[in-house]
Amino acid sequence: MLDTEGMMITRAELTDLLWSSDPVTGERLPVRRDTVVTRLEACGQSRAARVARGLPARDGVLVAEEIDALLVRVHCELQRLGEELQLPRRIAEWIARFRSTRPSEPIRVVDVGCGLGHVVRWLAAHKPLGPNVELVGVDLNRTLITRAAELAKAEALDCRFVAGDAFEPGVAGGGETATVVVSSGLLHHLRAADLPGFFAAQRQLGVAAFAHWDIDPGPWTTLGAWVFHQARMREPVSRHDGVLSARRAHPADVLLAAARAGAPDYDPACADGAPWWPRLSDVLRPVTGVAP
């Protein structure tokens, strides 16, 4: 199916459709339930459409407070999976390796699309990167950012959260501090055509390095995603989106080509395992780049 601009409409995660904001002001926009259902049915996502049909709506518009609460619950569940995958440790390990080349310099770690800020809060709680590290989480969703900040405050964690586009000047900070941009589970939310621009934006900002973790796609990963989302997740939205994430994750060659197109001088790297062999310890792998 094609949209009004003639672009192919691909399968969508529910969490991408239930929430929308004005790209200029960041203000929340109303989302009509029928629009979500129609969009999902158009792509043959009948189960997701059924889930969407059951979401609370007032005058046909999804109830913002209910959707916010749902998104927080979904991200809390996702955090639990991240814990099990040891995701913050993996990210910390990479940043620590990068930092070992410049141990005395202060750095800023910016987690793009941070959701509830699990990685940033974990880094703040466990301090694996040593002193002089500024931790920033950025997400377009104000509800998640507000909740992330509340959670950080509840545990007295030294990190901050910003609602907005991380690549807009001044949003995630600037100045002389070397910035490392990371993300987890973000890249599959972007279309392949938009990936070069994503990497180019980081190059344009002059970040010191980037490392974006996402699912290594393949039949084993999809099977594992199904098992784990059935076993660990309670929300039907989480179960649906988790499996779809694995199915639509970009292969390493796509990510690598995009990173080379957008940030060629960052010496990008990314590698998938053999598709027929399960990589149980590396379900998520990074695409990385370091400034020359």
């Binding site: 569940e77 959670l151 149980l280």
Partner: protein, 171 residues
């Protein structure tokens, strides 16, 4: 006799505690949640005890009235344990692995055992109860086994319902 009863009680207690833990996981978003985890285990244990108590009471009343039926219940217990003990041992082994493995390899325990076994648990629980009629040819023992399985499987939904009713997040 004592090992059968002890093993059944022990497995029921562990299963209840783990059900409590599963029900609480991914609820609060906190980074440091050890205290919540301990409480969740205890909630699971208490809920399992409350839900299984009526089944235990029925069996005890029956035994008080007809002591000769002890062998029937022990046969039922041995049949159930044929399935539950290996299953429980594998899960405990995986948990031990999760605890002692280097962090990079901890997910192996989850990916290979803990995740799939969580999915398989209801089916294994039911299969264990369905062994009872073959081992005992006794209707009451079979009903008691099925009721115990239903009670054990209800622990997590009951606690989930409690979470859904309160939906309290720390702040």
């Amino acid at each position: 006799m004592s090992w059968v009863v002890g093993a059944l009680v022990g497995l029921a207690a562990l299963d209840g505690a783990f059900a409590g833990f599963r029900s609480s996981c991914g609820r609060t978003g906190l980074i440091r949640h050890r205290r919540q985890d301990v409480l969740a285990h205890l909630h699971g244990l208490a809920t399992a005890a409350a839900l299984l108590a009526p089944v235990a009471a029925v069996v005890l009343v029956d035994l008080a009235a007809r002591p000769a039926r002890l062998d029937t219940y022990l046969d039922a217990g041995r049949a159930i344990l044929m399935l539950y003990l290996p299953f429980g041992a594998i899960v405990l082994g995986a948990l031990a692995g999760y605890a002692v493995l280097p962090w990079r390899h901890r997910f192996l325990a989850s990916a290979l055992i803990l995740g799939p076994f969580t999915l398989a648990r209801p089916f294994v629980a039911l299969a264990g109860a369905l062994l009872v009629p073959f081992a005992t040819r006794d209707a009451l023992a079979t009903v008691a086994a099925l009721a115990a399985v239903a009670a054990a499987l209800a622990v997590e939904p009951v606690l989930d319902h409690h979470w859904a009713a309160h939906r309290a997040l720390p702040g």
